[in-house]
């Protein structure tokens, strides 16, 4: 599926730039965006190294298994088959980092969790139920303080920049309930592929 989506996006871009008689915009965009991708990776690399390093300490100190034991009751409904303490902790760290608005750190924990889930899934080409649930949760995880938007609002002299916090949390919860519900329906239909 990714093949068609990706190819389609690029081809659509080329067709439209020809229709708009502005092919150079496409070329310029292509060139600048691949540089942006590398720059983004570099900006992520430092954080990735720091968190992976700190997590290694936590793992060797036994903190990871301790955390996973604490959150197990909460997670066992969402991930009924998940027993690996490392995966559980990485997932909970990713959720926490998301909630506290540390986006890049959350990405690091999530990628680590996905790597481990992939191992557990035997590197199968089919996503496991746990993977789907985890991704569904991260995609809809609420953020306590959406700092970027609040900053924009206060720059534009809003009367109270923070008054979007409660609506954001409520909307985020609605979205989270919906995604988890969809996942649970699919899990019932196919216990695991």
């Amino acid at each position: 599926m990714m093949n068609y989506i990706w190819g389609g996006m690029l081809l659509l871009g080329i067709i439209f730039s020809i229709l708009h008689q502005d092919v150079s915009a496409f070329t310029d965009g292509l060139m600048s965006s691949c540089t942006e991708a590398v720059e983004f990776m570099l900006s992520l690399a430092g954080i990735m190294a720091v968190w992976s390093g700190l997590m290694k300490i936590a793992e060797e100190a036994g903190l990871i298994s301790k955390i996973s034991k604490t959150v197990m009751p909460l997670m066992s409904w969402l991930f009924p088959k998940e027993k690996n303490p490392q995966i559980i902790s990485m997932m909970i760290m990713s959720f926490m980092a998301n909630i506290f608005g540390a986006g890049n750190s959350a990405t690091v924990f999530s990628l680590k969790a996905m790597e481990l889930l992939d191992e557990e899934n035997g590197h199968s080409p089919y996503a496991s139920n746990a993977m789907c649930m985890f991704i569904a949760l991260t995609m809809s995880m609420i953020q306590l303080v959406p700092i970027a938007v609040i900053k924009i609002r206060s720059d534009l002299s809003s009367a109270s920049p923070e008054d979007i916090i409660l609506p954001s949390i409520l909307a985020g919860l609605a979205s989270m309930i919906a995604s988890v519900w969809v996942c649970k329906i699919f899990e019932r239909k196919s216990p695991d592929a």
Binding site: W6, M55, A58, M96, C132, S160, P167, A178, V180
Partner: protein, 175 residues
């Protein structure tokens, strides 16, 4: 309340780091060596995801810089009007799933145009505060796995996204 939340968000990472370091020292872990070893693994992951990042970035840029995105938006905007979604928010709804920084720019434009405390301005802000860049997340997260078929990860993301969008709009009408 917001002050308390912001303070909590600011303190989260320093507290977490302190707990890890102190706990590591208490358990007599060679924390520096462990850190270096872990950091190496982290950098390896970084190199692994780079090809995927480049792939995602160029495909998104192709859609936005060529005007294809604008065309898709105007083609489906009648459907959104049926749901009572204001015109200004349509580009936010379309850009948010694929680009975090791109959608912030659009939200800023909406707020400049309609005012940060207008209905559209607030709804746009709430959308960005509550909805994630789902396509980007899907592509990036699966890039470290061997998965070729995402199964219901895609559908649950899309449904969750639209519920979030509609909730943002309806909640902002009342709150």
């Amino acid at each position: 309340m917001p002050d308390f939340l912001s303070l909590f968000s600011v303190l989260f990472l320093p507290i977490l780091i302190t707990v890890i370091l102190v706990y590591g020292l208490k358990q007599k872990v060679a924390i520096y060596d462990a850190f270096i070893e872990g950091a190496k693994e982290g950098l390896k992951t970084c190199v692994d995801i780079l090809p995927f990042l480049i792939g995602i970035f160029i495909a998104i840029e192709a859609l936005t810089c060529s005007g294809a995105m604008d065309f898709i938006e105007s083609a489906v905007s009648p459907v959104f009007r049926l749901f009572g979604i204001p015109e200004e928010l349509i580009s936010v709804i379309f850009l948010r799933p694929i680009s975090g920084s791109g959608s912030l720019v659009v939200v800023e434009k909406v707020m400049e145009l309609c005012g940060p405390d207008s209905f559209a301005g607030r709804a746009a802000a709430v959308m960005v505060g509550s909805c994630e860049t789902i396509f980007y997340v899907l592509a990036l997260y699966f890039s470290v796995t061997a998965v070729k078929k995402m199964r219901h990860a895609f559908l649950s993301g899309i449904i969750g996204y639209f519920v979030g969008i509609l909730a943002s709009i309806y909640i902002c009408r009342f709150l």
